[in-house]
Amino acid sequence: MQSWTGKFYRQIAAESGYDLDYIKEVGSQLWGALSEALGEKVSKKNARLVLANYSVATGQSIASSLQAARTPDTLEFPSDAVPLQSSLYIERPPGEERAFAEVCRPGSLIRIKAPRQMGKTSLVLRILAHAREKDLRPVMVNFQQAESSSLGDLSRFLRWFCVYVGQRLSLESRLEDYWDEEVGSKVSCTTYFQQYLLQNIDSPVVLALDEVNRIFEFPELAQEFLPLLRAWHEEAAEQEIWQKLRIVIVHSTEVYVPLKLSQSPFNVGLPLQLQEFTLCQVHDLAKRYGLDDDGIEPQDLEPLLDLVGGHPHLVQLALYWLRQRDVSPAQLLQDAATQSGIYRDHFLRHLAILNQNPELWVAYRQVVSSAEAVQLEAIAAYRLESMGLVKVYGNQVTPSCELYRRFFNNQLQ
């Protein structure tokens, strides 16, 4: 056990400098490599530990996950993306299948839009894993990790982007050979991709761009960079080498940056919207959590679902705690919308953000205190939507579930 962990740490060390998402993405690859190196199949339990370990190693707090791994049931605590090998990943057809097919098509583009904690990253991890199986090169770029200073300047940003993608493809930076400020950074960046990066890889690359909504916060950059993605996608129709580039765009909020129709990547390619879990899917998940062993029947979950709808993360949290047998269904339900219930941490995170943004606070108070849908200023509506706090239909805004209405109606007064 120790040696396995030690071995894994060495692997991580060898990979150091990579960000969390990248490590997540190669997680399964590592697992395979690990099994091979040890001549022994690594168990699910180990993979989980290993995942927890690298999270710690990269400074992410996931102590709860470690704790979960140590429980007799070895259940992972629902925090970030559902790990690749986890049995707790619920497919939401036909999303996966369509994405898997699309990513294998030359020059394809996939757009995944859903609020936070709806399962976007979990889906992307599976798309990338599928891509790897098909001998494509997966590359994950998370814009949440780009520095604000480089997001404020087009040239700096594009240079960073080129180097970053190059690193992931194990290609040394040759920016100086290709970059020419005299032709502008967009032409330089395109040239770098066409003449260098795409030229020097044998198999197509799947470029998954996570948290693209971060780019929206920098309108000047967004209006240059996003059209560039569209242009690359369209280039595949005319130049074969661009067929080697497949793009996955992931964003949590509506695109509120004005983009010209012909330049926007958001009206081409395959759009995927992650829906909430259906009743069937929740029952399926409850079974996978082993709740039927505890004598909890599907109908026992109904009052809970009335409260949280099919929100994947809220459902997962409830099932997790029920399975821990720390709390009875009745008790869980009774405390759910309070600070002493299982959603306490979840609520506090949202409250912290609302506290820092008085205009969101005011807007959300308006939403939760009204029995009817309300109209909000567009940006506030989009930001609340991206947090997962509201649903937006046209210009009508409602709380995304009854749980939020109850809790925040009390808290925001």
Binding site: G107, L154, D180, E181, E182, V183, G184, K186, V187, T190, T191, Q194, Q195, E220, Q223, E224, P227, L228, R230, A231, H233, E234, A236, A237, E238, Q239, K260, L261, S262, Q263, S264, F266, N267, V268, G269, P271, Y393, G394
Partner: protein, 463 residues
């Protein structure tokens, strides 16, 4: 098995089964082969870029060399003329796939003393035409309208295109170089000096909606879906007027709905004769109702924004559009002052628009928005879907939102212009006129102002 797919938005891939060959395909191909400078100007989402992709491939198949210059990719708000022209040069080489075999940086640097446009023209003559000593070269310039948003005039670039075209007589090598320009623009937008523009010597290729006999490839995706594909296609075209985006979208909707039903084990029922009713339900529920939130990928919202984005002119655009909806001939705007002094009923004054009459800027804006098209010299709404989405209620709601005196003018109009109590007086009239300063409003607004002034003048005369 690969399923037949429609494509809604973006340029269609080369092998897209739903590509519809139109008259324009034949016209453009013929003109290009003849070495004509071709212009394909139209509104958004009419299939310009898809046509370009097809042309390029067809020409390459017969051994010609092609490059595409996408103007959106070169320019940005902050770009300088130096960067722009060098960007064009570099992108040309990239598109002709010459970057690997040609030391562009050095070549460009060695000619630093020359004016930049001269360098670009040398690149064409001394590099491109020399690197390809025998082949014919075609350069497609797409999204040409984005050259308009640059902070410097780009006339020189277009003059260079004209120059290349004119050079053919003196320098035969230029006969191997042919240009085609694509975009949402009118020639007058693109260049200020008529003697330098290539647009009045180029051959305009007209891009129309799909005709039924052209649209037959679209049947393939419907034939396993509905029992009477031909009838369904005909009804779809009746709704869309052959507008490519909407036509693809409706076909895709039918296909998707049928697949959904099939997965539930209930085949799509559409008895013969009920197709029109069935389609109208589909169009209303999936396109027209709540269109602003259903408009994915974006199409209708872009038309809306093109009408409303310039507050100074939105009133006038809406006014002209309102008349088109009323089936009145679009009027040539008269001087505002003249209107106020001589309020003549609209119908009597408005001349019929004939083919040769130049369009006003507002008419051009409406045409480029894609909302209307010219039919036998008259502007009319392009299709039934637009007619139902951008209907009279919609126009009135937006005119009301624009006008601070909306309530008064609406009552006055509703009374047929008889209820003088609704006219503006005193400060209200002054406020309204102050608001109207610098704006281009609808004729109704000006008639309303004029009537208000007349009543005031008449009252003064009584005393």
């Amino acid at each position: 098995m690969l399923t037949y797919e429609y494509q809604v938005g973006g340029s269609l891939k080369l092998d897209a089964p739903s590509y519809v060959v139109r008259q324009a395909d034949l016209d453009l191909y013929k003109a290009l082969l003849a070495g004509e400078l071709c212009c394909v100007f139209n509104s958004r989402q009419m299939g310009k870029s898809s046509l370009r992709v097809q042309m390029r491939s067809q020409l390459q198949q017969v051994g010609m060399r092609c490059a595409t210059l996408d103007m959106t990719r070169i320019g940005s708000e902050q770009v300088t003329p130096q960067q722009w022209y060098k960007g064009i040069a570099m992108d040309l080489l990239r598109s002709f796939d010459l970057l690997g075999s040609f030391d562009f940086k050095t070549w460009w640097r060695e000619r630093e003393d020359l004016p930049i446009l001269h360098r670009l023209s040398l690149l064409l003559e001394e590099v491109l035409l020399v690197k390809f000593p025998h082949e014919r070269l075609f350069i497609f310039v797409d999204e040409i309208d984005s050259a308009l948003s640059l902070s410097f005039p780009t006339d020189d670039f277009f003059a260079l295109i004209r120059y290349c075209h004119n050079q053919r007589a003196e320098n035969p090598v230029y006969q191997r170089l042919t240009w085609a320009l694509f975009g949402v623009a009118t020639p007058s937008d693109l260049i200020r000096d008529r003697t330098r523009t290539p647009f009045n010597i180029g051959q305009a290729v007209e891009l129309r909606g799909f005709q039924e006999h052209e649209a037959q490839p679209l049947l393939l995706g419907l034939k396993d879906t509905v029992s009477n594909p031909q009838a369904v296609l005909r009804i779809i075209l009746a709704w869309t007027g052959g507008q490519p985006f909407l036509t693809q979208k409706l076909c895709q909707l039918v296909q998707g709905l049928a697949a959904e039903k099939k997965s539930l084990g209930v085949p799509l029922q559409m008895p013969p004769g009920s197709e029109a009713f069935w389609m109208s339900q589909l169009v209303r529920s999936h396109l027209i109702q709540n269109w602003e939130s259903q408009d994915q990928p974006e199409h209708l919202r872009t038309i809306r924004d093109r009408l409303l984005r310039d507050e100074q002119r939105a009133g006038r655009l809406l006014g002209i559009y309102q008349q088109i909806l009323h089936h009145r001939p679009a009027v040539v705007p008269l001087e505002r002052r003249a209107l106020i002094q001589s309020p003549v009923p609209l119908e009597r004054r408005a001349p019929k628009l004939d083919k040769d009459e130049p369009d006003t800027q507002e008419q051009v804006d409406l045409l480029l928005s894609g909302l209307v098209e010219k039919h036998q010299g008259k502007l009319q709404v392009k299709n039934r879907i637009y007619q139902e989405v951008f209907n009279l209620d919609w126009v009135e709601a937006h005119l009301t939102a624009l006008r601070p005196y909306a309530e008064s003018i609406n009552s006055w109009l509703n009374s047929g212009g008889f209820d003088e109590s609704r006219l503006l007086r005193g400060q209200a009239l002054l406020d309204a006129q102050a608001w109207s300063q610098g704006k281009r409003l609808s004729n109704q607004d000006y008639q309303f102002f004029a009537a208000s002034q007349r009543v005031i003048a008449a009252n003064l005369n009584c005393y």
